[in-house]
Amino acid sequence: MPFMSYVVIAYLFLAILLYLLLGGADFGGGIIELFTSEKNRHLTRQTVYRAIGPVWEANHMWLIIAVVILFVGFPRIYTTMSVHLHIPLLLMLLGIIARGTAFGFRHYDAVHDRMQAVYNRIFVYSSAVTPFFLGVVAGSVLAGRIDPGAPDFWSAYVASWLHPFSVAVGLFTVALCGYLAAVYTVGEAKTAADRQRFVRKTRLLTAVTVGAGGAVFAAAYREGIPLLHWVLGNAVGRTALGLATASLGLLWYRLGRGPAALLRVLAGFQATMILLAIGYAHFPDFLLVRGGPNLSLVRELAPARTVQALGEALLLGSLFILPALFYLYYSFERDKSRGVSVDG
């Protein structure tokens, strides 16, 4: 396999991972408002905004990068998903429209009146709906219920995604996003009392996420999906799960007084390990098809010259994107630590 094929596959996983970590925390910012009492909601909202405000647009670019890699580099995977997961993708898109515009509008509305409550409500609900359907899509890609030869509407376009496993993965994704955002906010707390509040919320969301993870395994068991075997059946999966668990213990222990950067790195590490544990068992298969053959990242790769050009475009793009993105994150972290207000 030529070198650029590895580059393209690596960037696909990188884009998915970064979207989960950055876009996910961004979704989580809305989700934790659902877990916040009325009187603390304003504080939470301000804190979340301080954490993501300047970079929230950039966080969502990773989804576009992942989609473009899929349709240029792996057209059959992209079109199979588009056809058989049409409905959850459509619902996810409605969530993306509602959430992106509500976030932007609540900040750029020149008049701050009752409309703010409308934007907030749309933002909070779409923050949960969007990652839920993203998770449903991810679960459906792994569940093996997609059937290109399905005879009727139900089995071709609904049963492909509507089953307990993908719903459980959807709920787990929502919980994970909330968890990531909660960990980020701990580092943003300005007073000890605020920190205590955010720590409590993080513990709550940790428990919810672990519970949702258990539900994913239970649903897989009920549906006859060998998830346990995928994760624990190989050394990489076992190691990844072990490290994720160990780092979760460390995070739980250090939550009260650990430095913000450590907590964030640990949370990001856990999400990375979860993705690795689930993705590794099938690699290079990506989309599991009922009755097979599965769609593999190696077999479904686009023609050689396209892969070459796509890989070059991604490498070239990184030369521009990564330093600029790093400087953007750096500048606003620096200003936050100096106590400069982050307002548009």
Binding site: H60, F71, T79, H107, Y157, A302, V342
Partner: protein, 445 residues
């Protein structure tokens, strides 16, 4: 109740999504340049009014960037949701501009982050530069996306053998024969449309006598951009017409309502084409002019639709009317632009006159109507093909039934989204005295 046919619904949903996205993204890619000029004037002259204009416009840019970004994200999925059999083959061939566009769009988002939150935080010229980068990367994104559309009109970079797409070369596909003329025409159109829309709104505020210095400065910057673009657009239009005549004679025949091959060919102005009788009623004909516009001399033959097999003919009524509308609006804008420059250089008094401002206020939607009309010409004129001469649109549509419901849903979403955008802009404009035009302009101080 009869539900809309899936194919028609898919086409309608795509047209709707692109029709909205084109407006959001034109404004999002052009306004940063207006902003950069105002910002430049603030940094070089220190006149507070320029800073106020910059800040007010940056909020507009942010609102349109948000809507443009989400509608663009939606489109990257809709290509597959609606046209999977097209994307299965076309993705690896015409995907190159999209993969570069991903980078350009990302840079735009990062630069916008720097710009919006960077006031008083970075070196003033670095801050100015980030605003300029928003515009440049937006423009590059626009050019790349249009290059991908140009490939559908002028497929290149593969060999089509027995239904197989072989010898794929994405670089050749990107630099297809249509990319330059289409990208040029679209970019100039974006400047003309946004310039006229922004200038028109500020002209309206001037007519109402509100925050005169603020709106006067804003009006002048936008009007100069819009007028300049409106004056050069006919040149790129001529370039495009000759290009289409060479590459897509069927599209040219449809937009000119030329049912029968003529030598020399008359230009059909206006009129109502009747596709049954193959005649154009109520039209004005100028002998020989179409030969000149399409091929550069007054006697050359221009191919009519009779040379195209019946199954491959595009519709005529819609492209012809849309084309007439685009040219008519373009001519009107060119006239307004000429008057504006005459006023700027020779008749300063006109600039203070109400009639010129009224003219601009009336022209507010003209550019965007022309953009939508031009988009209709290029898309409907390509039918029945999704890849010209290679794949039919009807063969590319998703097998999933019930697309009509998705179309209704998206219609509702886009219409309400546009209502909210208009609502937000009107609030921004209403709040100018309180938020942006606070310091008294030095000219009056």
């Amino acid at each position: 109740m009869d539900v809309m046919d899936d194919f028609l619904a898919a086409r309608s949903q795509m047209a709707l999504s692109l029709g909205f996205h084109i407006v959001y993204s034109c404004i999002g890619m052009v306004m940063p340049f207006f902003m950069a000029v105002a910002h430049f004037r603030w940094l070089t002259t220190g006149e507070a009014v320029y800073k106020n204009v910059t800040r007010a416009w940056s909020k507009g840019v942010a609102i349109f960037f948000v809507t443009g970004a989400v509608s663009g994200t939606v489109l990257s999925f809709e290509l597959g949701l609606l046209w999977p059999k097209f994307m299965l083959h076309a993705g690896p061939i015409f995907g190159m501009p999209f993969s570069l566009e991903g980078t350009a769009f990302f840079i735009e988002a990062i630069a916008l982050g720097f710009f919006l939150y960077g006031w008083e935080r970075f070196h003033p010229w670095f801050h100015w530069f980030t605003g300029l980068v928003v515009g440049i990367s937006g423009l590059v994104s626009g050019i790349l996306v249009v290059a991908a559309n140009a490939w559908m009109n002028s497929p290149a970079g593969f060999d089509f053998v027995n239904g197989q797409y072989l010898n794929v070369d994405p670089i050749k596909a990107m630099f297809n024969a249509a990319w330059l003329s289409q990208a040029l025409h679209m970019c100039i159109a974006a400047f003309a449309a946004t310039g006229f829309a922004v200038a028109g709104i500020h002209a309206l505020m001037l007519l109402k006598g509100r925050n005169v210095a603020f709106h006067r400065h804003a009006f002048t910057i936008a009007a100069v951009f819009g007028a300049l673009a409106a004056l050069v657009q006919p040149l790129s239009g001529d370039f495009s017409a000759k290009d289409v005549a060479r590459r897509q004679p069927a599209k040219l025949a449809a937009m000119e309502a030329l049912f029968h091959t003529e030598k020399p060919a008359a230009l059909v102005l206006g009129g109502l084409p009747d596709e049954q009788t193959q005649r154009v009623n109520y039209a004005v004909r100028i002998p020989g002019l179409l030969s000149f516009l399409a091929h550069g001399n007054f006697s050359q033959e221009v191919q009519g639709l009779d040379r195209v097999p019946a199954a491959d003919r595009p519709p005529v009524l819609v492209p012809h009317l849309a084309f007439q509308l685009m040219v008519g609006l373009g001519t009107f804008m060119m006239g307004v632009a000429a008057l504006f420059f005459l006023a700027l250089w020779r008749r300063k008094a006109w600039l203070q006159s109400r009639w010129l401002l009224r003219l601009f206020a009336a022209a507010t939607p003209a550019g965007f109507l022309a953009v939508e009309a031009g988009w209709t010409v290029t898309e409907v004129g390509r039918q029945p093909w999704i890849i010209n001469g290679v794949l039919r649109t009807a063969d590319a549509v998703t097998p999933m039934p019930g697309i009509a419901y998705s179309f209704y849903l998206f219609s509702a979403v886009y219409v309400s989204l546009s209502c909210v955008v208009v609502f937000l802009l009107s609030r921004q404009i209403r709040m100018v005295p309180a938020l942006y035009d606070v310091a008294p302009p030095t000219a009056l101080a």
